[in-house]
C-alpha cells in the first residue's frame, strides 16, 4: 500500500499547490469548477454514508436547503455571522433528521418507502421555502447580503483561492469522517460476531440507534455542504438547493462513482460536473437543454452497464476478484 500512500500524498500536494500554478485567464474558471467539485463531493460523500447502508434518501435537498436558507436568512435579516448561523442550521438539521429517522427506523420504513418518505420531506422543505416568499424570495431565490468588502465575519471573500482552500479542507474532512465511520463499523461488526446468540435481541436496539445516528451525521454534513455552497455562490434558490431535482443529482453522482468506495462519490461528482461543464462549453446557450439531455442519457447508460459505479468497477477490475461489499445494507 505504500505506493498508494505516495500517490495520495502527491495528489494532495498538487491540490494544495494548485493556486500557485500559473493558469493565465483560465484561473477563475478552473477554481470555480474545482470548488464546486470539492463541495458537491463532500455532499455526495455525506449522502453515501447513509446510502451504503441501504438508507437510500431521495430528499437530501431538504437538509441542503435547510442549512443554506437558515444561515442566509439569519445573516440577511439579523446580521448573524454565518459561523453562528451555521451552528443554528446544524442544530435544526439534526432535529429534522431525527424527526425523519426515528419513525422510519421505529416503523421499519425501508427500501422504496424510505426513498419516497425522504422525497416527500425534500418536497415539503422546497414548498415551504417557496410559500414563505416574503422572507425567502420564493422561487426567485435570495441573494446573500454583501458585506461590502472581504470579511471573515460574513464569510465573503473576493479571492476564489480562499474558498478553494476552504473547500479542499471540507472535502478532506468528509473523507476523514467516512474513514472513521468505516473503522467503527468494522469494530461493531466484530463485536456483533463476538457476542453470543442471546445478545441478538439487543442488536435490534443497536440497529435503530445506528440508523438514527448515521442519518443525523449524514444530514448535518449535507447541511454544512449546503451552507458552504451558499456562501460561495452568495445566492440561494429553492430549485438548486432543495427538492427532488438536486436530491436526485446528488444520488446520481454518487451511484455513478460508486457508493461503497471512499473515493466513489468524489469520482462521480467530478465526472458529472466536468461532463456538465464540457457539454455547456460545447453546446453553449444555442442549444438549451442539449447538455442535460446527453447527461441524462449517459446516466441511464452508466447505470445499465456499470452497476457498481465507475470507481467501484475499475477498482474491482484492478483487484481481479469480485469483492464482497464492505457492509451489507441494514434491513433489520
Amino acid at each position: 500500500m505504500s505506493a498508494g500512500r505516495v500517490g495520495v500524498g502527491v495528489l494532495l500536494a498538487a491540490l494544495v499547490a494548485a493556486p500557485f500554478v500559473p493558469m493565465g485567464g483560465m484561473r477563475q474558471y478552473i477554481f470555480h469548477v474545482l470548488i464546486q467539485i470539492f463541495v458537491w463531493s463532500f455532499i455526495g460523500g455525506a449522502w453515501a454514508l447513509m446510502g451504503r447502508f441501504g438508507l437510500v434518501s431521495l430528499g437530501h435537498g431538504a437538509f441542503l436547503g435547510l442549512g443554506a436558507y437558515t444561515t442566509t436568512l439569519l445573516w440577511n435579516f439579523f446580521g448573524l455571522t454565518p459561523w453562528l448561523g451555521a451552528l443554528v442550521a446544524v442544530v435544526l438539521t439534526a432535529a429534522l433528521a431525527v424527526i425523519v429517522a426515528y419513525p422510519c427506523s421505529r416503523f421499519q420504513v425501508i427500501g422504496h418507502y424510505f426513498g419516497l418518505v425522504t422525497l416527500a420531506v425534500g418536497e415539503v422543505v422546497r414548498l415551504l421555502i417557496i410559500a414563505e416568499r416574503d422572507w425567502t424570495g420564493g422561487s426567485l431565490g435570495l441573494t446573500v447580503r454583501p458585506a461590502g468588502a472581504d470579511s471573515l465575519v460574513a464569510v465573503q471573500f473576493a479571492d476564489k483561492r480562499v474558498f478553494y482552500y476552504a473547500a479542499l479542507v471540507l472535502w478532506a474532512l468528509g473523507l476523514w469522517v467516512w474513514h472513521r465511520v468505516d473503522r467503527s463499523m468494522a469494530r461493531s461488526a466484530m463485536e456483533a460476531i463476538g457476542e453470543d446468540e442471546t445478545a441478538a435481541a439487543s442488536v435490534g436496539i443497536h440497529v435503530t440507534r445506528f440508523k438514527i445516528a448515521i442519518t443525523v451525521l449524514s444530514a448535518v454534513l449535507t447541511a454544512v455542504g449546503g451552507i458552504a455552497y451558499a456562501q460561495y455562490i452568495a445566492y440561494v434558490n429553492p430549485d438548486t438547493l432543495a427538492g427532488i431535482g438536486v436530491s436526485l443529482r446528488i444520488v446520481f453522482a454518487v451511484v455513478l462513482g460508486g457508493m461503497y468506495a471512499l473515493l466513489g462519490p468524489t469520482v462521480g461528482t467530478a465526472l458529472t460536473i466536468a461532463l456538465a461543464e464540457v457539454l455547456r462549453v460545447v453546446f453553449g446557450i444555442t442549444y438549451v437543454g442539449m447538455a442535460e439531455t446527453i447527461y441524462g442519457l449517459l446516466l441511464i447508460v452508466f447505470i445499465i452497464f456499470l452497476p457498481s459505479g465507475i470507481y467501484g468497477s475499475v477498482r474491482d477490475l484492478l483487484r481481479r476478484r469480485p469483492r464482497s461489499q464492505p457492509a451489507a445494507p441494514v434491513t433489520a
Binding site: G51, V56, L58, P103, C104, R106, F107, Q108, V109, G111, H112, Y113, G115, L116, V117, L119, A120, V121, E123, V124, L127, L128, I130, A131, I244, G245, L248, V251, F252, V255, Y287, V288, G289, M290, A291, E292, T293, Y295, G296, L297, L299, I300, I303, I304, P307
Partner: protein
C-alpha cells in the same frame, strides 16, 4: 372568513382533479405491482404525450379526439420502449439502480423537451363552456376529463378481471414464478403491462392538456404527488390508489383555497409522511 361557495367549488374541483390523478396512480401502480419497479419518470411520459396532443391539435389541426387516441397509442409505445430499453436490462439490479435508471430518464425527457420545445407553456385551446351551478363555476373540460377518467378506469378494471392476460397481470403481481409455471412468459406479461401503463399515461395526457398548459417540467409538478398517492393507497393496490387519489386531490384543492397552493401540497405531503409511519402498507392494508 372564506366564502363557503369557494370551499364548495374547491371541493368539487378537487373531486374532478382526483379522477385524473387516480388514472395516473393506477397506471404507475399497475407497473409497480407487476414489475416491482417505480417508474420515477412516469409523469414525464405524460408530459411527452401532452406535447403530442398539443402539436397534433393546435398545430396540425387534428380533431381533439383523434389527437387523444394518438396520445394513447404513443403512450403505449413509450411504455414498451421504456421497458425494453431501460427496465429489462436492469431487472436483476439493486433497487437503487432501478430507481435511478428511471430517474435518469426523467432528466433526459425534461431536458430533451426543453431542447426541442423550449420552456414555453403551451395549451390546447378548446371552446368549452364554463358551467354555473348555485354560484359555483365549474369548467366543462374538467367535467369531461373526470367522466373519461372514470370510464377508462372501469375499462381497466374489466380488462384485469375478465381477460386471460389481465388476470395473468394480477397473478404475476402476486407470484411471478408461479405464473411462469402456468406457461406465461414473464417477458410478455411485462411488456403488456408496460404498454397498458403507458397507454394510461397517454389517456391522462389527453385529459390534462385540456385543463393545463404543458411545459418540460410538468412532470415535476405531478410526479411526486403520483408516487405518494400510490404509496398511500398501498403500492400495487389498485383500489387503495383510487381512494388515495381523491383524498390527496381534495387536500390540495381545499388547502390551496384556504392557504396557498404550496401549503396545500405541504399539508398533503406531511399527511403522506405520517400515514407511511402509521399505516405503512397503505390505507387498506390488513394488519399482520
Amino acid at each position: 372568513m372564506i366564502d363557503p361557495i369557494f370551499l364548495a367549488e374547491a371541493a368539487v374541483n378537487g373531486l374532478l382533479l382526483g379522477g385524473v390523478l387516480a388514472l395516473l396512480a393506477l397506471g404507475l401502480n399497475l407497473i409497480f405491482g407487476v414489475i416491482d419497479i417505480v417508474w420515477i419518470a412516469y409523469v414525464d411520459l405524460v408530459m411527452i404525450c401532452m406535447y403530442a396532443v398539443y402539436f397534433l391539435v393546435q398545430v396540425y389541426g387534428w380533431p381533439i379526439w383523434i389527437g387523444s387516441l394518438a396520445s394513447v397509442g404513443l403512450g403505449a409505445l413509450l411504455g414498451i420502449a421504456v421497458h425494453v430499453l431501460i427496465i429489462s436490462p436492469i431487472l436483476g439490479s439493486a433497487p437503487v439502480n432501478q430507481l435511478l435508471a428511471t430517474g435518469g430518464l426523467l432528466f433526459f425527457l425534461q431536458s430533451f423537451a426543453t431542447f426541442l420545445w423550449t420552456t414555453d407553456h403551451r395549451s390546447v385551446r378548446l371552446t368549452l363552456p364554463t358551467l354555473e351551478y348555485g354560484g359555483m363555476f365549474l369548467s366543462f373540460a374538467r367535467l369531461v376529463a373526470f367522466a373519461v377518467a372514470l370510464l377508462v378506469m372501469l375499462g381497466l378494471f374489466l380488462f384485469l378481471r375478465h381477460t386471460y392476460i389481465g388476470t395473468a397481470i394480477r397473478a404475476v403481481s402476486q407470484d411471478r414464478e408461479a405464473m411462469a409455471l402456468m406457461g406465461a412468459n414473464p417477458r410478455t406479461v411485462y411488456v403488456v403491462t408496460s404498454a397498458v401503463g403507458g397507454a394510461l399515461a397517454g389517456v391522462a395526457a389527453a385529459l390534462l392538456i385540456i385543463q393545463y398548459s404543458v411545459h418540460p417540467f410538468f412532470g415535476a409538478a405531478f410526479g411526486p404527488l403520483t408516487f405518494m398517492i400510490c404509496v398511500l393507497g398501498g403500492l400495487g393496490n389498485m383500489i387503495g390508489a383510487f381512494v388515495a387519489a381523491f383524498i390527496m386531490s381534495e387536500i390540495i384543492s381545499i388547502g390551496g383555497v384556504v392557504w396557498s397552493t404550496e401549503m396545500g401540497y405541504v399539508i398533503a405531503f406531511v399527511i403522506f409522511i405520517i400515514m407511511i409511519f402509521v399505516r405503512p402498507g397503505g390505507l387498506f392494508a390488513r394488519r399482520a
